[in-house]
Amino acid sequence: MADGTTGISADALHGFAPSVRRGGLRRFAQRRSTIAVLMCLPLIALIAGLVVYPFFYSIYLSMLSRDATRFIGLFNYRYLLRSDTFDLVIFQSCFFAITAVFFKALIGFILAHVMHNISGRDQRIWRGLLLIPWVIPPALSTLGFWWMLSGNYSAVNWILGQFGIPQVAWLSNTWTARLWVAGVNVWYGTPFFMIMYLATLKSVPDQLYEAAAIDGATWLQKIRFISLPMLRNIISITVLFSLIVTFANFDIVQILTTGAPADTTHVFATYAFQLGIQGGNISLGAAVSLFIFPILAVFSIFILRGVGRRAREGM
């Protein structure tokens, strides 16, 4: 049978109880679903140990007092929601993630189309070059940007100075600092979007574009009526994946600004680190980091619902 069972009826085995039990156990062990579960067990154990347990433990931690000796319920959350600094952290985290993901998706989309229209060896060379920012560890990329923008040795300011343009304190003004923090993330993350979109574009039949060209469609119409609908699912999934990763980003802010000026560039992860590790208040740090969860849950529900709906329509 398709499910791996033999299909022998219970009546046929009447009177042979021990054999039935052994046979039943053997059949149970031979079921595809049983084998599948057994094979997944290591992974399930890994996820339970490294994701599920820490998640519930951090919820528990976030409800403890500063010295982690008393249960204080939702006090830490109430404290954070009353803090002006934490308002800034929420704003900056959302601004950082949404801006960075939007530009990563946009630039990745454009680059994927440009790549798609370059043929043969040239495409491989350009694709390799454009992937370089993605393969460099983000901490190193960020250090590079820090050197280019820092007050002492800013290469960017040196170049501006050659044209008589006055120096800019890139990382000391709130908005330029926020934009650079997002910009470094765009620099690092765009190749991922490009490669995902490019892979999907390659699966779009050329005949669709040829038919559109015969009908006199412009490039914009081809993108709007062919590329975008075909890429919609991959766009949704990459955006969701990137939102999750970007919301949890730590290294860019920590290296580039450490949250300065005046806490205006802190994101959840760096603020949690400041309160939890540097400030020794692990409970409060856990509460900060858990704020990411409901935000991402909302994003995930909407995005995955759209993907699911389109999948059903396509069936």
Binding site: N152, G279, G280
Partner: protein, 450 residues
């Protein structure tokens, strides 16, 4: 000839068991006093780590203790030491001896072994201890951490002699490299600093004083507050934010801000070093690490540097101080050996060895050890760090930002850099004084009720 008795199977087994047990007997002899796991700060001076490793290895061999050492880094983006402290306190397992920076003892004191016996003996031996070390190392009257010289640092003034000379101040006359008196330095005040700042900015040597969120920035503004007698929270935990002294310091910084580097608000702990070494700053508040690197990378700058105490204010002169501690976890399985080790490492001979290899960077806990030769001998110029340790005639005290608030509140003031954020909102953000104070009141009330 006597016939030998044949070896039975039982005899052979006995022999084998005895043979197998022999190494165990040997190990027991070699490490009779058990084992110790020690977490040390990974010193930035290359020669400092091997020196302390050798000292500890020698002690271990002599006392038959098997000691293993882990060197853990600590910095803005690399906080292995902080992470280890947090993880081990939660897990209840790890090293026996752990290194803590500044507030670590206060943060994890529930998991630490009291060491009043160790400190009592050392104080008897070497005299009174620095009050800031006592504020950070004692909990409810009990010593929970030993203030060590390794990593402990003042952050006094490190100035370019030539710039101050042009501005009409002789820093070497203020603080000569010989015993003197406090009267020669009465001119070195925060008012003098403010007067000298515009010229420095104009000369491309803006004072590298940060208003960022990391320790160097927090430490010097804490000393400034103390010099004006200003506290954000008093020793009883009451908010003292709206005092005249606090407003006076804020107004002072508002004026000074105009002459600081453009990136002062994002200064991290490396920024002031880089400003000095690159020849872009005439004054920083830092241990001699910046001068030390300049000696290697920018000798002309190093030759022009002089280290001396912080400026004074109406309430006195205070050097920023960042002491390091060694603590013994309460879950340590060899507390006796741990206490013996840290007591031995704190003896004058060992402290001087470690101070010498760190080129005088490490500040001994006891003022009675501030007479080591290293600070007189180091150059160029000769005597450049002579006044780095607080000398009896300096009329200077140490300070940690947040003092005198109860440590549980002070930790938050320190780590959130609350006063620096206030300053930036006022000076750069051009917010009104009232709004800044309202913001701070809301934040600090949160710390108090936390």
């Amino acid at each position: 000839m006597k016939k030998l008795r044949p070896v039975s199977r039982r005899d052979a087994l006995k022999l084998a068991a005895a043979g197998a047990a022999l190494p165990l007997v040997h190990m027991r002899t070699a490490h009779a006093a058990g084992s110790l796991k020690v977490a040390l700060w990974d010193h930035w001076v290359p020669a400092a780590n091997p020196a302390i490793q050798k000292l500890i290895a020698d002690w271990g061999a002599k006392n038959k203790v098997d000691v293993s050492i882990d060197l853990l880094q600590s910095g803005t983006a690399n906080a292995k030491l902080l992470l280890a402290e947090a993880a081990e306190s939660l897990a209840g397992t790890g090293h026996d001896v752990m290194t803590f920076q500044a507030w670590g003892v206060q943060q994890y004191h529930q998991h630490l072994e009291p060491i009043d016996d160790v400190m009592g003996g050392l104080i008897k031996q070497y005299g009174a201890i620095d009050p800031t070390s006592a504020y950070l190392g004692k909990v409810d009257g009990h010593w929970m951490g030993l203030p060590t010289s390794v990593g402990s640092q003042y952050k006094p003034s490190c100035a370019r002699i030539s710039y101050f000379s042009k501005a009409g101040y002789d820093v070497r006359q203020w603080y000569p490299n010989a015993p003197g008196n406090a009267k020669t330095a009465t001119d070195w005040t925060y008012d003098t600093l403010l007067k000298a700042a515009p010229g420095a900015k104009q000369a491309g040597l803006a004072f590298g004083l940060g208003l960022g969120l990391t320790t160097d920035s927090v430490d010097w503004t804490g000393a400034l507050l103390r010099a004006y007698g200003a506290v954000l929270v008093d020793e009883k935990g009451n908010l003292q934010l709206r005092s005249d002294a606090v407003q006076q310091v804020l107004e002072y910084l508002q004026k000074l801000y105009e002459f600081l580097p453009a990136d002062t608000v994002t200064y991290d702990d490396a920024s002031n070093n880089k400003a000095l070494i690159s020849g872009q700053s005439a004054l920083i508040f830092n241990p001699p690490s910046a001068w030390w690197v300049a000696r290697r990378d920018a000798p002309k700058v190093a030759e022009d540097c002089w280290t001396f105490p912080s400026p004074s204010g109406p309430a006195g002169r205070f050097n920023p101080y960042l002491p390091f501690f060694w603590g013994i976890w309460s879950f340590s399985s060899n507390k006796t050996a741990a206490k013996d080790l840290i007591t031995w490492l704190q003896q004058r001979e060992q402290v001087e060895t470690l101070c010498d290899v760190s080129v005088g960077y490490d500040i001994p806990t006891f003022a009675s050890m501030h007479d080591f030769k290293i600070w007189s001998e180091v150059k160029p110029p000769l005597g450049t760090v002579y006044n780095y340790p607080i000398r009896p005639w300096h009329d200077t005290q140490s300070n940690v930002s947040g003092y005198p608030a109860p440590p549980r509140i002070a930790i938050q003031l320190y780590n959130n850099a609350t006063f620096n954020v206030m300053t930036v909102k006022l000076a750069k953000g051009k917010q009104k004084m009232k709004d800044v104070l309202d913001w701070a009141e809301n934040e600090i009330n949160g710390y108090i009720n936390m």
